[in-house]
Amino acid sequence: MANATTTTITYDDRSVRHFMTASVIWGLVGMLVGVLIATQLSWWQMNGKFLESISFGLFKGEGLQYLTFGRLRPLHTNAVIFAFVGNMMFAGVYYSTQRLCKVRMASDLISRIHFWGWQMIIVAAAITLPAGLTRGKEYAELIWPINLAVAVIWVLFAVNFFWTLSRRNEPSLYVALWFYIATIVTVTMLYVVNHLSIPTSLVHSYPIFGGLQDGLVQWWYGHNAVAFFLTTPILGIMYYFLPKAANRPVYSYRLSIVHFWSLVFIYIWAGPHHLLNTALPRWLQMLGMLFSLMLWAPSWGGMLNGLLTLRGAWDRLRTDPVIKFFVGALTFYGMATFEGPLLSIRAVNELSHYTDWTIGHVHAAALGWNGFMAAGMFYWMAPRLWKTTLWSKSLANMHFWVGLVGILLYVAAMWTAGITQGLMLGETNPGGGTLKYEFVETLKAIQPTYILRSLGGGLYLIGFLMCAVNLWKTARSGVAGDESVEITIPESNREPMTLGATFFNDPVKLTLLGLLFMVLWIFLPPHADKAALIGTVIFAARAVYVFRTNKESWIHWHDRLLANHLPFTILVFAAVAIGGSVQIIPSLLVNREKNIEGRLQIPYTPLELAGRDIYIREGCYNCHSQMIRTLVPDVMRYGRSKVKDDYSHLGESLYDHPFQWGSKRTGPDLAHEGGELASGSTSMRLGKRDNKWHWFHFQNPRWANDDSNMPPYPWLYEGKTDFASLPGKIAVQSRLGVPTPARSGDAIEEEARAQGLEIARSLFEGSGPVSYEPMKGASSAELVRRFSESEVVAVIAYVQKLGSYREVHKQGGSEPTPLDPDSYRAAGHPEDKVPAGATTDAR
């Protein structure tokens, strides 16, 4: 036994109080915006027109661009994820890390910079997102200068955290710290890769990945933002705060180890389940589905470890609101992590994807798991941080029940909406030749559930308001103070671990070899792949045998690892980096123009590109997908009548920076909305609907259909297209590999203006010209001149281009390509030879 000395530590609880307060404030903002946008789906007037009523006529207009669903939905998601949960996570991490390491945070200065920097980022997001400054990728919308700020502040947080670990007075890392390490390492990797962009101005950039590759990287990031921002840090918080609140040790330490390593390794592979039945190569879809199903085990292992920690303390569920919230949160965690893999089964996903079922799933996790964990942690910490007692236990209980009813109403309403809409969209008339319902009919059918969703969200917001009041009163009744404790510092007898010892040992060696053969099984050609599979089985069996015969050395190795945070961190990085590398790197190498056979996208003209940027600015991707899945109902509904197999092919969006496949259809898919060049024109295209239809539709979507819930876009008629920025944007597109013809800046601008004129003429000249009320009496020449430069014409140009492609055929057909398992499958089964991503359903 080592000799011990004692010392007094004063923890930095001020930062914890700051983060907790910020989390509550931003939580209220994020939830309020969520309720507002929920009402927008029921009443289009909530997109700004309602201001006419509440401002007593000061505001006049059909809508306000800063308040549309397309711009506010990213604000809602970013506020809830990064502001509410982010600040809550930091509060939990700062509080527990200091106590688990028995040391104050390494640098007060870095803690302050971290706090204020993070809040400034949130304020910047709250300004830029409603202003339409966005990258157009879900949960990654913030513009590049803010991305850089996020990276700097996150790195500072990491420095402070690891510096604290290195100064710890507790030799071994507790399980909560493992999850924090995984969070820091993985979020850094995901954020950097998914935000790689080339700026075109101070507020705009194009992501370096395009089309399928962008989709794959985006959902690798998007899915794992859920995993490593909304799950792993909260699991760490659960592992610290639940045993504290229950006054019981965690149920099973060994289960914690299995839970941790399996969760961080498996989660990262599951991203492609967001792209099932799309143009994503089939092998990636299968990998995404299989790893999602595997996630059932670690997720439920973690939930059970949490719930069983309460053994012997279940009676506290009746009396202690903290336990009540934690149990509620874990139950929702279990439910959401059961539902997630279920939705990742391709057959289930056919029905659920692009519907509100996914929205219900996400909110079960966000409101139930994250929101209730946050509430439980706040109620536990507040009396300790302000050295008092909770102001009102009954108000906390009331919060629980109001919040719970709110979640259940919300989730059940969204399940109903999603399943109803999914079923209706797939229904055909007797004989199966035509679809039974128009899209808007399905939207009308789910309107009652949309209203119930707003009600459920409203209840949850009220509950959280109760929490805010309770915490405020608690703080006011006490005195803020930092906790001081006397601790015993054991004399250091840490066994250091070299890099060699980290990797060259049985557990790591056998795991890596097994994984290597598993990857070879995926990529090797037929027969060689079977040998690789046998290799995987052999190494798995060997690992089991060695563990059984040499268990003590494995345990000793892991114990040593827990005393050495850097080797531990390196292994965590290896665990999370493998999945992403296996999925993304082959795709970056294979899914490129040179390997495309069949449809290849025709790049946008300058005006179409300008229109696309406006489309992204308005957040149209929040409601309209651009991905006709390889499913019969999708092709029947969104395909072009004279085009065979008209699902979205891989090559059709190859040059889209960013991709716009979307994740939810509140409106119809637009992938094939465009069409051929108009007769006699070199640039103007006409798709499923003519230019005039789009003109009236953007002005008033109810003109096209009474039941549409799309907001009007009057500002597109007033705004002017930014022609001056086009040369710079096209230069960046060219650098990214988009085959744009070489021309001068003047020529680009001239080309854009010429196309604008042609579209404007089609609107204002000839038979049945459109009119514009504010310019009543103006000549058609004036109108043409004015609107040829307008944003609405640019957007029309873009929409009419969607889905345009040329056919590319390779002599002798395509050969099996290394790193493309689908091509081996197609070579082995010529009858199955359909373009990447296609299923037999589409033939």
Partner: protein
């Protein structure tokens, strides 16, 4: 009516019926709880949870 539900418009009707059934269970339970005599409500609220510690202290478990 039956044909409409089972064949013609089942996609719109069945999910709504499921939702209404789910809500009905919650509403019925809530009404029952609210109308329950206070003594009965307190008794149900204090049902043993099967914890060793609780059983030892309250000695209410029918199995003890």
């Amino acid at each position: 009516m039956f044909k409409r539900i089972t064949q013609e418009e089942w996609t719109t009707v069945v999910p709504i019926i499921s939702f209404c059934l789910l809500c009905a269970v919650f509403v019925a339970t809530t009404i029952r709880a609210l109308r329950m005599p206070r003594g009965e409500r307190d008794r149900l609220a204090a049902l043993p949870t099967g914890n060793d510690g609780e059983a030892a202290t309250q000695n209410e478990s029918p199995l003890s």
